[in-house]
Symmetry: C2
Subunit: 236 residues, 2 copies
């Protein structure tokens, strides 16, 4: 053990910054239909795939895209109403939502290995809390939500704030996400981006957005931690 500790001090392990929805929690599809329901309540008809590909952006950027696509203008009050309706619709389906395979095991393994990790999610705290509870993530883990920063993804602010809490440089961190917005944020901050298929993007989309590697889900990532420079086994 002492030998291993010393080796790790010489070559510090990278820290991991995780997105939440679609990366650790299987909630993207429920979010899509919740946004769809909220948009329809304001007579904005957009296709599910269009919403899907914009999940994970900040709410305001996403709603801008929806306004551009539909040709509708919304004022600040209507946008707040939309966000509230989305949260309400999502909360109605949150009982169906579960952690993705391997999510808890992956976080536990990182902790065991002494690899720092944190969460950076565009979601507002109210929506994110239920997911954090599912993963058993308590006060001891740095969690940055959309409420905490001026600009959410694809701005890298969320991940900058998360890295800061871990006292790490973001450019020495690994950003794990399921959407191209996570990977764009990673690229802009010179962090290593890892993509997961669990949010429903195709592998090529994630690679083209800058993913160094793409895994199916947290379980698959856990089985390949050594491919991203985490020293998993004792040295011989």
């Amino acid at each position: 053990m002492p030998k291993r500790k010393k080796s790790r001090d010489q070559h510090p392990q990278p820290a991991f910054l995780f997105d939440l929805d679609g990366t650790l929690i299987d909630s993207v599809y429920q979010h899509i239909l919740a946004w769809r329901e909220a948009l329809r309540a304001l007579d904005i008809e957009l296709s599910n795939w269009f919403i899907h590909r914009r999940i994970g952006m900040s709410d305001s950027l996403m709603l801008n895209a929806c306004m551009r696509e539909s040709g509708r203008r919304l004022d600040k009050k209507q946008m707040e109403k939309l966000q509230a309706m989305h949260t309400k619709a999502y909360m109605r389906h949150v009982g169906e939502v579960q952690a993705l395979p391997g999510a808890k095991a992956l976080l536990k393994q990182l902790t065991t290995l002494g690899v720092p990790w944190a969460i950076g999610t565009t979601s507002l705290r109210e929506r994110a809390q239920k997911s954090l509870d599912m993963l058993g993530i308590g006060e001891e883990v740095p969690v940055i939500t959309g409420d905490d920063v001026e600009q959410a993804k694809p701005e890298p602010d969320l991940f900058f704030a998360a890295a800061k809490k871990l006292k790490m440089d973001l450019e020495h961190c690994v950003v794990v996400g399921d959407s191209v917005w996570d990977l764009l944020a990673a690229q802009r901050a010179h962090a290593l981006g890892i993509g997961l298929l669990a949010g429903g993007y195709g592998e090529d989309e994630l690679v083209r957005a800058g993913a160094y590697r793409v895994y199916r889900d947290p379980e698959d990532l856990l089985e390949h931690l050594d491919e991203i420079g985490v020293k998993v086994e004792e040295e011989h």
Copy 2:
């Protein structure tokens, strides 16, 4: 008009064979959650993205994939129960489902241009009928469903049967679908495959599966019919 008619006789227009869910109807995301609900009722936990990428296969191939992935064996009776629960869960959400943008206009335009078209869907008739009603598709249109053939997609049997009803060779047809299973079926039958993003696959996935062109949705396809050899305007 007579001149145009003659020209068309010399160079017959291709016929169009359409998939239904995710291609003309925005129903893939509701189908995903309906399968998820049905699988969970049998204590089979699979991620939504995994189900998403297998929608559009025949039910039996899809359920084989689910069994392989989950390590569970299901007997014939359980598989039938699963299918029935999926239909029931989907029917509960069918009120939210709508035609994709441009779907009705595209079909109308093909009819106006004298281009034959038909529907080939893996869905069983019971589930498909609601979608056909939404599109205003009546008895006059050849519709081949999963009930009508021995083997559904990615076997090309559905499209073979649809082309036969139009009295066309399948290899002179254009197959339009949102999933790689449509495009695999098209390739196997030497038909021209066109992909639509409307089912939530990424563009590269569809191109790699053989799509000659990928459009966003039926509306986008309608605006680019001349790219696939349909004579849209009068000759000068």
